[in-house]
Symmetry: none
Subunit: 208 residues, 4 copies
């Protein structure tokens, strides 16, 4: 009765949902379409997910969870806040460019979901926000970032800018490379956040 949250088919359904939503749009992604793409029967979806909404929330949680976990792991080893900022932007844009379906779904389609889906999305998003704020706070503590910026506001600028750049790119039908935006965005944000007398570190080439 309770939905199984693991298994081969669980993942197959999630991946199918990403593909179907990316290709058909949120409002044109029926359960039956996702089931067909996943190679299972309609009813099988309900063995793994409580309902369609649960599937969509799970989709975002899984994908976002993977991303934040990966990001945290990669960033943990690093010390320099500038390098961390560079790495974050690089990870963010590389992920989207590497998976066009995911990019479409995350930047556009999933924002068409309703309130309760958004609530389900809130938790993993907050974790990502926390990572961003931590990077900023470390920079403040080590006196390389400005003391006079509210951390939350800093996060809003960092995320808002990356998100807007990514959305523009997706909406442009990806006629240019998002990776090419990594260094410009880094330079812009590093400049904006760096403390008055601190020399901004150039983008570490290896993070592209």
């Amino acid at each position: 009765m309770a939905a199984k949250r693991t298994g081969e088919k669980y993942n197959a359904i999630i991946e199918a949902a990403v593909k179907v939503i990316a290709e058909n749009g949120y409002h044109n992604s029926q359960v039956s379409k996702i089931a067909r793409e996943a190679g299972v029967a309609d009813g099988t979806i309900y063995l793994y997910f409580k309902n369609k909404e649960d599937l969509l929330i799970s989709l975002f949680q899984v994908k976002m969870g993977d991303f934040t976990a990966g990001a945290r792991k990669e960033l943990n080893d690093m010390q320099n806040p500038f390098a961390k900022l560079a790495k974050l932007i690089s990870l963010h844009f590389n992920l989207l460019e590497a998976d066009r379906h995911l990019a479409l779904v995350v930047q556009i389609q999933l924002r068409q979901s309703n309130a309760s889906i958004r609530e389900g999305i809130a938790a993993p998003l907050k974790k990502y926000f926390k990572i961003i704020e931590e990077i900023f706070n470390e920079g403040v503590r080590s006196n390389v970032f400005r003391q006079d910026i509210n951390p939350k506001l800093a996060r809003q600028m960092i995320f808002g800018t990356m998100d807007e750049v990514a959305t523009s790119w997706v909406m442009s039908q990806r006629h240019y490379s998002l990776k090419d935006q990594i260094i410009p965005v880094y330079n812009l944000l590093a400049q904006a956040l760096s403390a008055p007398d601190v020399k901004i570190e150039p983008f570490p080439v290896k993070y592209i």
Copy 2:
């Protein structure tokens, strides 16, 4: 036969739609609900709008059109790019704070719409983007803004930051004042955009 695009009822329906969507969410805003709120019969909606989608696009176009027209008018008289930036942020946040329904609809609900509605939204949004880019370009030309930032990227940072701050505020259920964010956001963006040796102008008090 052709939908009437003006008149008392036209506006009443637009306002009713904003209210209903704000209170019920995009996916729970049926035509009949909007009609009831507007005090007209369901069929009357179709005398003024081709269909539900046309109503939603019109809603955004009217509201966004009013805003960009107003913004352009207010900004036209001004010379100083810093002052213009300050004014823009002030207008943006004041509009949303003044009309809580509109804020919800613009920041959250309308982003749940489908592809064709988004297309209808694109045009007025581009006009707003253009205003932002013009402000930045003027600042570059008068040597107060950095020469080494791509104008489109500058616009993405400005809009992305304002949008993210506004969305955070709406999602927080507006437990704090968005107006209080005007000066911090201005300081942050002005700092990010200002040319190396230019002294950032403090936020003009009268623009709050």
Copy 3:
């Protein structure tokens, strides 16, 4: 309150209905379309007709009434049953060929109407049936038509044949002339109805 059954606008509305139905089909002929074609307001229709159904029945009655009255008048002066049959076919096909809108409406569109309209149509149609039967009966009485055919059946063959030929012609989009069918149909029916030893009269040229 009671519908006016005469007047300039009454006729204008009838003619407009014929045109609109011919051009748009029965199911796509809204009251508002007919009103626009007639150059009156929607509400005005209801000053002259009880409702849409009443308009359609009236349309058929007027047109069919004109036709039967005209036919009766023309046929009254004639004596010869063969000549009368020839004249009838000629009148029938000439009327349809002369008024393409009427042809479409009578042969195709009006048959899409519902039960109560068909009932309203029945009376004028019966009058036309009566004319046909009378021609046959005269032929029987004067021994030029077969005695062994039931008059009703004779009428059904005459009307059924003319009707099928006319329908075929209308459905063919009138790529050929219906008038060219007058003589062949006459020959066929005259042959079928003529008494064994009676020489069929050739089609009187003047009736084409």
Copy 4:
């Protein structure tokens, strides 16, 4: 996704549609009524038919297809054109008399359908027309039918007469037997079509 065109329910829905349309009239036969009569849910209709129109076209095609296939099979074994004509009339009238609902639907209700339904109906009707013309052509080739009648016109008379007789019978609410019309109609048409010196064959008793 694609509509299933076979199965137990497919037939049940077709039969239900015939009954509902016969009893309520074309314009008063809602999908929900047909579904109820068939003992299925409204949505089930759409598993078997693309839409309401598709159901109506299918209905006619199935019924007409059955009839023409049956007629062709029965007529194939026969040689004598007179006998074939007799058989055709017998089949036509017997079918309608045996299934009062079908008679109502075919003779009256389905003619109320719109253009696209009529188009869907055209193909099976043409097949029936072809059968009729073939009978006539065989009679001409074997010198028992008149050489001077255009085959298409012959078909129009045959079909037009049978159709008018059937329509009269249906409209009369079937207060008499349509079968009783078989021999009179045969005699009338055989007389009309037979070559000058050919003795008309009496109606073969076994075909009643």
